[in-house]
């Protein structure tokens, strides 16, 4: 595996894999924030101090201690172009802030891209595990194992009363953020979504758009994550998210079934119109693409469209992001050019998916 493949292949293994409940849950993610004791946090560190932290942490991968979790490759952010960094963000392998702000930032990526370990983001160490479908407990087990490996050889900043000390007070304690990415077109179409989202917020969970803080939920994708990191154990945090997500999955399935039972033709019309637009449009902005792809994905999950795979939908969702588009076509584009290229790329993808060449 080389830097090339991390940047050029749109699909990480976690997107190809068939996890449990993938009709509703796209992915499950755990992120653990840790810091080294005695070192200033990345925001205040001098280049030399940040460099020291980077060396100390990336050395852990080089010792082979992490090998049981898959071979890792370390990429230093300063060695990547702006576009390459953007592609890693669009694949959810690094955070936007590591891509944009960090000095001496690095990421250790596992070969199948299910683990990415960020160095010198907001905290010294951020361990992220990303699994396909609804596997939040499995993701925690792996992330915690990697955490233990780092702790064997590095001294974490830890306090008996406050727990793991983090740069931001919103992460202190367990330092974990557990989240599931859900595709909820049924709840949006049946107008139950707002009621459910406000209920979620009342039990200490947060709802965000697909790129985290500050972005809107486009394409009916919602990321649900824990808010509280202090005063609850990791087990309680994950159990809480797990049980709420489980209920949402059931509500979403019931909503889809109701749509099928009560307004099948309207639903089919919507799905197939979107399919038609994706197959034939010449200009497609990212918002429209996300909405149409969401419709078609719903159609696939409900068996209304047979000849497109859910994996192809995952791939298109990633490929049509601005960074990836420019990577695929190897040119820098204005937003207008991107809309034309995006439409072209989707048409080609759908064409290759169907044996008889499109609709």
């Amino acid at each position: 595996m080389s830097k090339r493949s991390y940047v050029e292949e749109a699909l990480s293994d976690w997107m190809k894999g068939n996890g449990p409940d993938t009709d509703v849950v796209i992915s499950s993610r755990i992120r653990i924030a840790r810091n080294l004791s005695g070192h200033p946090f990345p925001m205040l560190a001098t280049s030399q101090q940040a460099q020291d932290v980077m060396k100390q942490l990336t050395a852990v991968a080089e010792t082979g201690r992490l090998d049981s979790c898959g071979p890792f490759e370390t990429l230093e952010l300063s060695q990547l172009s702006e576009l390459e960094r953007r592609v890693l963000v669009e694949k959810h392998l690094i955070s936007p802030s590591l891509a944009n702000e960090s000095r001496c930032g690095a990421v250790m990526l596992s070969e199948n891209e299910s683990v990415s370990i960020m160095v010198n983001e907001e905290d010294h160490l951020r361990i992220q595990c990303l699994y396909p479908g609804f596997q939040i407990k499995e993701a925690w087990t792996l992330a915690s194992r990697i955490d233990d490996i780092f702790e064997e050889v590095t001294d974490y900043a830890f306090d008996e009363r406050r727990g793991y000390l983090t740069s931001c007070p919103t992460n202190v304690g367990t330092g974990i953020r557990s989240s599931v990415m859900m595709h909820l077109p049924g709840l949006v179409l049946t107008q139950q979504i707002n009621r459910i989202l406000s209920a979620i917020q009342q039990v200490g969970l947060a709802v965000r758009g697909i790129y985290g803080e500050g972005s809107e939920a486009i394409g009916n994708l919602f990321q649900i994550s824990n808010q509280i990191t202090l005063g609850q154990s990791e087990g309680e945090i994950i159990e809480n998210l797990h049980s709420v997500a489980r209920q949402i999955i059931e509500h979403e399935r019931a909503a889809r079934q109701r749509l099928l039972d009560e307004s099948r033709v309207r639903l089919e019309d919507r799905v197939l119109r979107s399919y038609g637009t994706l197959s034939h449009a010449m200009i497609m902005d990212s918002k429209e693409a996300a909405q149409r792809l969401s419709d078609v994905r719903l159609g696939i999950d409900l068996g209304l469209i047979g000849d497109v795979s859910p994996q192809a939908m995952n791939e298109m969702m990633v490929l049509t992001q601005p960074g990836f588009l420019q990577q695929v076509f190897r040119e820098k584009m204005t937003p207008e050019q991107r809309d034309i290229r995006r439409a072209e790329l989707i048409r080609k993808q759908l064409y290759s998916e169907t044996d008889h060449g499109g609709v």
């Binding site: 915690s144 064997e152 830890f158 931001c168 202090l230």
Partner: protein, 174 residues
């Protein structure tokens, strides 16, 4: 509606600012907003959890002294990284792990507001946290012991007492 700054591009951002009760409305395009330094949601300089936090942190009036004559929060400074409490409350982020000790009790109300809680009950580092682990185990055993005594289960209570003593010896050895 066109951007009120450049008068060329369509205004995509609409702000209402209320400063000291005075309301001002802006209708501007994204590039002009960037130049003016206005926060755009979803962008690097946008409204973030940190700006929200800083509103939470900065609630102690400047220069107040509490009854015990302790330093007001605004004069606190971390002697390891040099971050002042005022800077902390503006940025919403600590400079190093030592800030947690230096800003000490001032943090409890903040953590309470953010998490509804001030004490960690989760994972403990395996290698460096042995002592804390043992302490936590002892606390749990003591609670159990008290309950057994109340219920007059003296045999189990004696076993628990022995186990507690054993762990206390272990702590002394670490």
């Amino acid at each position: 509606m066109l951007c009120q700054e450049c008068d060329k591009k369509p205004a995509t951002l609409h702000f209402t600012k209320i400063v000291n009760g005075e309301k001002t409305e802006f209708h501007i395009c994204e590039s002009c907003a960037r130049e003016r330094g206005e926060g755009i949601p979803g962008t690097a300089n946008g409204f973030s959890i940190h700006s929200l936090l800083s509103g939470l942190l900065d609630f102690e009036p400047v220069g107040t002294m509490n009854a015990l004559g302790a330093k007001p929060a605004q004069q606190l400074r971390c002697d390891n990284c040099g971050l002042t409490y005022t800077q902390f409350s503006k940025m919403g982020r600590f400079g190093c792990s030592n800030c947690y000790t230096q800003f000490g009790s001032k943090l409890d109300p903040i953590l309470k507001r953010v998490h509804g809680n001030t004490t960690h009950v989760g994972k403990i580092p395996k290698r460096t946290g042995v002592q804390i682990q043992l302490k936590r185990e002892i606390d749990e055993l003591k609670a159990d012991l008290n309950m057994r005594i109340e219920q007059q289960e003296f045999e189990t209570a004696a076993e628990l007492r022995d186990r507690i003593r054993e762990l206390e010896r272990k702590i002394a050895d670490v």
